[in-house]
C-alpha cells in the first residue's frame, strides 16, 4: 500500500516484467547452449544484457522504446536473412546434412561388413574375472562357446559351461552376467565395444542377446584425411563438395556426406547450369506475369465496383456487404473450395458449363484458374481501398470539369484516375510484392503444376519463384537447401528492390527526414 501510495507501482511492475523476461531469456540461453546453438545463445545473451541495462538504467530513454523492435528485427528479419545467405554458400542437401566429424564417424561405423556366412552368436552380456565388460557367446550350430572382452577371447568346452534348454551358454567360469538393472548403464559400452574374435574379425552387439561377426572395411587416415578400403585398396579423398570420393572414379562417393562450404557455386549454377537456369528463367517470367496480372485484374475490378457503388443506388449497403464477403472468408478455405470447383471430372465449373476442361492438367487453363481465384480473393481489398480513395477526392473538381464541358469519361481519365492512382500507387506496388511471393495460393490450388516431367520439365507451369524454391528445398525426396537458399536470396533482392522503389516513389520516408 505504501508503495502504491508513493506511486511506485509502475516501477515495481517494470522490475517484475524485466525479471520475467530475463528469466525467459536465461532459460532460452541455457537451452540454446545445451543444444549447441551457440549463435542463438549469444544473441539471446546480448538481448538479456541490453534489456537489463536499458530498462534498469537511464542510459537512453529512446532506447527503451526502440529496443524491443530492434531485437525482433534482428531475430526475425536480419537473422534469417543472414542465415539464408550463409546457407546459400554451403553444399546443404540430401546426403550432405551433418557435420564433417559426424560424417567421418558414420562412415567408419557403416564401413564394416559381416563375414560371408553371416555368422552370429547368441550372447549373454556380463563381466569377466577382471571386471571388464565381456560377452559369453554361443554358436549352437558349431557348438562353440567363448567369453570375449575387447582384447581377449577365451574358448570353453560345452562341459565346462552351463547351457539352457536351447543349448545357449548362460554361465561360464570367471564370467558374471549383468543384472537387468545394469543394462541401461552399460548400454553405450556394450553397443560400442568391438569384442575380440580374431585378428581380422570382431563381434558387434545387436541388442543385448545377439552378437554379429564383422570386420572393418573402410578405415580413416586422419593425417591424410582419406578413407581407405582395406579390401581393394581404393582411396576416398575429400572432393571439396562435402563427400569422400574415389580418387580414381570421383562419381563413387561415400555416404553420408557433410555440409561443406562451396562459396558461390549455387549462384554460378543459377546462371551456368542449364538444368537450373532454364526452369528458373521460365518460373521468373511467369512470376512477373502472375503478379502483374493479379494486381491489374484485382485493381480493375475493385475500382469498377467502387465507382459503381460510389453512386446512390438501391441496395448499396447489401451489395457492399456481398463484395466484402470473399475478403472475410479465410483464404485457405476459399482456395480449397475453388480447387474442388475446378476439378475436371467432378468439379462444379465443368458441370455448370457442360465442359470437360482439364483445368489443372493444362498449363494455360491452370494459369487462368490461378488468376481467377486470386482475383476472387483480392478484389474486395482494392474495392475497399478505391472506395475510400474516391471519397477523398473532392467532388468540386469533377463538378467544375463538368461545368467546363468535360464528358464523364474525360473526368474519369483526366481527374479521378490520376488522383486515385496517386493515393493507391504504393498499395499497388505492395500488392505486386505480396503476390510475387504468394505461396499459399499456388501451393494449395495447383501445387505449382501442371508439369510434364516426361518432357523434361522440372518446374510446374504455375510455379512462382517461392513455390519453386519450396519444391527444391522440401518438395521432393532429394532436397537441396543450399540451392533453395541461393534462390531465396535472389527473391529477397528483387522484393527489396521493388519495395524500395515503392517507398521512394510514394515518398513515405520523406516525413521522417
Amino acid at each position: 500500500m505504501k508503495l502504491l501510495y508513493r506511486g511506485k507501482v509502475t516501477k515495481t511492475a517494470k522490475y517484475l516484467v524485466v525479471a520475467f523476461v530475463s528469466a525467459i531469456l536465461a532459460l532460452l540461453i541455457q537451452s540454446a547452449f545445451a543444444q549447441g546453438e551457440y549463435e542463438i545463445a549469444a544473441f539471446l545473451a546480448i538481448a538479456l544484457v541490453s534489456i537489463v541495462i536499458v530498462y534498469l538504467t537511464d542510459i537512453s530513454i529512446p532506447f527503451k522504446f526502440l529496443l524491443p523492435g530492434m531485437l525482433f528485427l534482428f531475430a526475425f528479419v536480419i537473422g534469417p536473412i543472414v542465415y539464408t545467405l550463409v546457407m546459400s554458400t554451403f553444399q546443404y542437401q540430401t546426403g550432405n546434412y551433418i557435420s564433417k566429424d559426424d560424417a567421418i564417424s558414420r562412415i567408419q561405423l557403416l564401413g564394416v561388413e559381416a563375414d560371408e556366412a553371416g555368422t552370429s552368436f547368441d550372447v549373454v552380456v556380463g563381466r569377466d574375472s577382471a571386471g571388464k565388460v565381456a560377452i559369453l557367446a554361443s554358436d549352437i550350430l558349431t557348438q562353440s562357446y567363448f567369453v570375449a572382452n575387447k582384447e581377449v577371447k577365451r574358448d570353453f568346452l560345452s562341459t565346462d559351461i552351463t547351457l539352457n534348454s536351447d543349448g545357449i551358454a548362460t554361465a561360464a567360469p570367471g564370467f558374471t552376467p549383468i543384472l537387468d538393472s545394469e543394462r541401461s548403464t552399460l548400454d553405450f559400452e556394450v553397443s560400442s565395444t568391438r569384442f575380440r574374435y580374431s585378428d581380422e574379425y570382431f563381434i558387434l552387439m545387436e541388442g543385448s542377446a545377439l552378437g554379429v561377426l564383422k570386420r572393418q572395411v573402410l578405415t580413416y587416415q586422419k593425417d591424410k584425411d582419406v578413407f581407405v578400403n582395406l579390401l581393394d585398396g581404393r582411396t576416398f579423398a575429400d572432393n571439396g563438395k562435402g563427400n569422400y570420393a574415389d580418387v580414381n572414379d570421383p562419381s563413387q562417393i561415400l555416404q553420408p556426406g557433410w555440409r561443406s562450404p562451396i562459396w558461390f557455386s549455387h549462384y554460378i549454377d543459377l546462371f551456368t547450369d542449364s538444368e537450373v537456369r532454364k526452369p528458373l528463367i521460365r518460373v521468373f517470367i511467369w512470376t512477373i506475369i502472375f503478379a502483374s496480372l493479379t494486381v491489374l485484374t484485382q485493381f480493375s475490378l475493385g475500382l469498377l465496383l467502387a465507382l459503381a457503388m460510389n453512386r446512390p443506388i438501391r441496395g448499396r449497403r447489401i451489395y457492399r456487404s456481398i463484395f466484402i464477403l470473399p475478403y472475410a472468408m479465410p483464404s485457405i478455405m476459399s482456395i480449397l473450395i475453388w480447387g474442388g470447383m475446378f476439378d475436371t471430372e467432378f468439379g462444379a465449373i465443368n458441370n455448370l458449363f457442360g465442359t470437360d476442361i482439364a483445368w489443372f492438367q493444362n498449363a494455360l487453363f491452370a494459369r487462368a484458374a490461378v488468376i481467377i481465384v486470386n482475383l476472387w480473393l483480392g478484389f474486395p481489398y482494392f474495392y475497399l481501398i478505391c472506395s475510400g480513395a474516391l471519397q477523398a477526392i473532392p467532388t468540386e473538381l469533377s463538378e467544375a470539369a463538368a461545368i467546363d464541358g468535360a464528358t464523364p469519361r474525360q473526368i474519369f481519365s483526366k481527374i479521378t484516375l490520376p488522383l486515385l492512382l496517386q493515393i493507391v500507387a504504393p498499395l499497388l506496388v505492395a500488392s505486386f510484392a505480396f503476390n510475387f511471393n504468394n505461396f499459399n495460393l499456388i501451393y494449395l490450388l495447383t501445387g505449382g503444376g501442371p508439369s510434364s516431367p516426361l518432357d523434361g520439365d522440372i518446374a510446374g507451369a504455375t510455379d512462382i519463384l517461392i513455390s519453386y524454391t519450396y519444391k527444391i528445398a522440401f518438395g521432393t525426396n532429394i532436397q537441396n537447401l543450399g540451392l533453395a537458399s541461393a534462390i531465396s536470396v535472389i527473391i529477397f533482392i528483387i522484393i527489396a528492390s521493388i519495395s524500395l522503389y515503392g517507398v521512394r516513389k510514394s515518398k513515405v520516408l520523406d516525413t521522417f527526414v
Binding site: Y97, S191, S208, F346
Partner: protein, 419 residues
Amino acid sequence: MNKKRFGLTGVVAVIALAFSTLVAPSASAATEIVVWADENRGPNLTKVIEAKGDWVSGYTVKVVTFSSFDALKTAVDNATDLTGPDIIVGANDWVATSAKNGKLAPITLSSAVKKRFTENNFFDLSYQGKLYGVPLDINNVAMIYNENLVKKAPKKLGDMVDYYNANKEKKKLVAGLCIAGGGTSWGAHSVLSALGGSAYRMKNGAVDSVVDPINPKELAKNISKYFLDAKGKSTGFFPASDAGCKDNFLAGKVPFAVIGNWEWKDYVYKGFKMNLMPVPGIKAGTYGQMFGSVSGALLTTYAAKRGVEAGAKDLLVNFFASTEGAIRYQSVELRPPAEKNAQKADLTAAQVGFGKAGSIAGIPQIGAILNGTAGSKSYWDLLPAFWTAVLVDGKDPKSEATKLNGFFKLNIAAGVKDL
C-alpha cells in the same frame, strides 16, 4: 549505477535465475527409449506397450505422438542429436534419404527373426545393403467393386471396361475405375501393371535390370484399346486424377475403385463389402501388381548418442518384430501385419482382403529406384504425368510410353547401385 540500482538488478537477476532453473528442462534419463509415431499409430503403440511393460528389461518406453504423418516427417527432418528419438515408426521411403542424412543406424537381425518376414519386406527398409529397421505393417491398395452395380468380380480388365461402356449413360457413371487411395502414382501402379507396364521387373527376388520395365508398343496398344476411343480421346473409364474418386465411389457413381488399406473403415461404414482384389489384367488370371510396401520401426543414430542403442535394438526385436507384439499391436491398429505368424491371427475381413490381394499381386516398393536420381525424374512425378499426357492432353500413347520407359530405365540403373 548507484547502490540501489545494483541491488534491484541483483534482485531481478536472482528472480530470473531462480525461475529459469525451476523450469529448465531436465535431460531425459538414459533408461528411456523414445519412439516417435504419427497420430494413428502413436496412441495404439502407447496402449499396447504400456499393457505389457517388460518388452525390454531395464528400460522404459516412451511413445511420442505427432499430430499428423506430415508433422512426424517434419520432426524427423528437423531432429538433432539432442531432440531426436531412438526409434521412428515411419514410411519405408524415408529410409534412403534419412540414411543418407546420417539419421538412421543399421541393424542386423538374427535368421530366426528374419524368417518371420518375407524378403520383400526388407527391400523397403534397406539402403546400400544395410537394413535400417524392422517391418511393421503392410501398406497396400486393392480394388473394391460396388456390388449394387456389379454382381460378380471381374476377371479381366476388359470386363470392367465393357460394364462401364454399357452402363455409363444408364447409371450416370462418372468413371469406370478410379484411384481413391494412394494417388495416381503409388496407387495407380496396379493399373499401369494391369496394362502390361511396371516401374521395374522382379526376377528371383531381385530387380531385373536387363529387361525393359515397359514395352511401349504393348502398353500403347492396351491403353488405346481400353482407355481411349476411336479418336484417341479418353473414354472417361480411368480418370487421370484421383480427385473425387472416393466420394463418387461411395455415391455409387463409380463401380470400381482402388482403395488404400488405411481407409477401409470409411467403406465398411457405408455398407460396402470388403470384396477386395487386385486390379485384373488383360488376360483372365493375370493381375496388375501393386506396391506392397511396409511401414517400419526404424532405428536412429540418436539411440547410440543417447546411450540406449542396445535397448532400442532389443525393443525392435522383442516388440516390433515379434509375433506377440505384432498380434497385440494389429488388434488395435487393424492393418495387415507384416509379421507372418500374426497374419494367421484373427483378422478383420479388410485385413484379410488386403493381405490376400497383396499376396496375389504384390511388388516390393524400392525407394532407391522410385525416388529417382540426378538426371532423371522420380516415378512419383512420372506416372501421373504419363496419365495426363495420354488421357487429358491426348498425346500419342506410344511416344509417351517410350519416354516413360526411358526414365524408368535410368532410375533402375541408378537405383540398383543403392540396393
